[in-house]
Subunit: 151 residues, 2 copies
DNA sequence: CTAAGTTTTAGAGCGTGGTCGAAGTCAACC
DNA sequence: GGTTGACTTCGACCACGCTCTAAAACTTAG
């Protein structure tokens, strides 16, 4: 469960943003921002000040946001790196990019379906407990003889 | 993504099942079955042969299945252990069990909602790629000037 | 100019959830 | 009784995705 930054975007100044500010806006820690860079998730190297400090542009924030959405839907770091590499490679691999995104999309749909399926059993058990507790019948729930529905 | 064992249940013989057979039926490796036991996920110790080997009953398989459903929906090992402890403690904590299950249930619903939300951006990008590829327009997708929608 | 606060790097460390290996025991069949 | 093969325990190991540390360099306010 992730804090999704849902406000109107504050404009990014010409000079770019410090890593701390970029972290605040994207909801990712500074540590993680640097880690993502090291891990090859970033398409274009982030600009630096003459002193070597990162300056994040609108552009970079948007890409990081894409990364966080892919992460939040369970794409592994490797998959995102692959996507970043394709984008970095430039024109000519758009079909591969589509494949990658489409297949991830389908996997997420499948994952959601699986969650919903498994949730059914849990919901059933919640109902059982709720029903019996309401009926003051709760001690029926733990039956030494192992009636499974109640466990 | 998990193989959900969706067949009619083969009956468990009086003598119980070997760990290998229990693994096959629950879709969990023997290593993991032992690990779950060590980790305190099992309410009642699994029966043993006189030689010390585990014999799994219907009962045990059902509990393991509950564990796998909880795992598949993202409940951490600690949470499942807590639930197992409550069940093992017997009568009198049914309200706590309900709390635990209910709160997990709600978390899963929230997780699904989050997945669906984040999936939207991915679906949009898939559509963009698909549209442009169909239009033979794909080289518009990587624009050096950084039009974000296309990346 | 100085002091305080940020950011830099490389690398180590951590939490989670298994997964595996070694050495020994048990069961089954010939 | 001997040989396979499955099973036992226990601790080590692994992949993943961060997360943190240390020491040095940069930036800014006063």
């Amino acid at each position: 469960m992730v804090e999704v930054n849902q406000q109107l975007p504050e404009p990014v100044p010409e000079t770019g943003l410090s890593i701390a500010e970029a972290a605040r806006r994207t909801g990712v820690s500074t540590h993680t921002l640097r880690y993502y860079e090291r891990a090859g998730l970033v398409v274009t190297p982030v600009d630096r000040t003459h002193g070597g400090r990162r300056r994040y542009r609108e552009f970079d924030l948007e890409w990081i946001t894409i990364c966080t959405r892919l992460r939040a839907t369970g794409m592994p770091i490797k998959g995102i790196r692959r996507y970043a590499e394709l984008v970095a490679a430039g024109r000519g691999n758009e079909d591969e990019r589509l494949d990658l995104l489409e297949s991830h999309h389908d996997q997420v749909l499948a994952k959601i379906a699986e969650l919903q399926e498994n949730l059914k059993l849990i919901a059933r058990k919640v109902d059982v407990y709720r029903g019996r507790l309401a009926a003051g019948d709760a001690d029926q729930l733990w039956v030494p003889n192992r009636t499974p529905a109640a466990r």
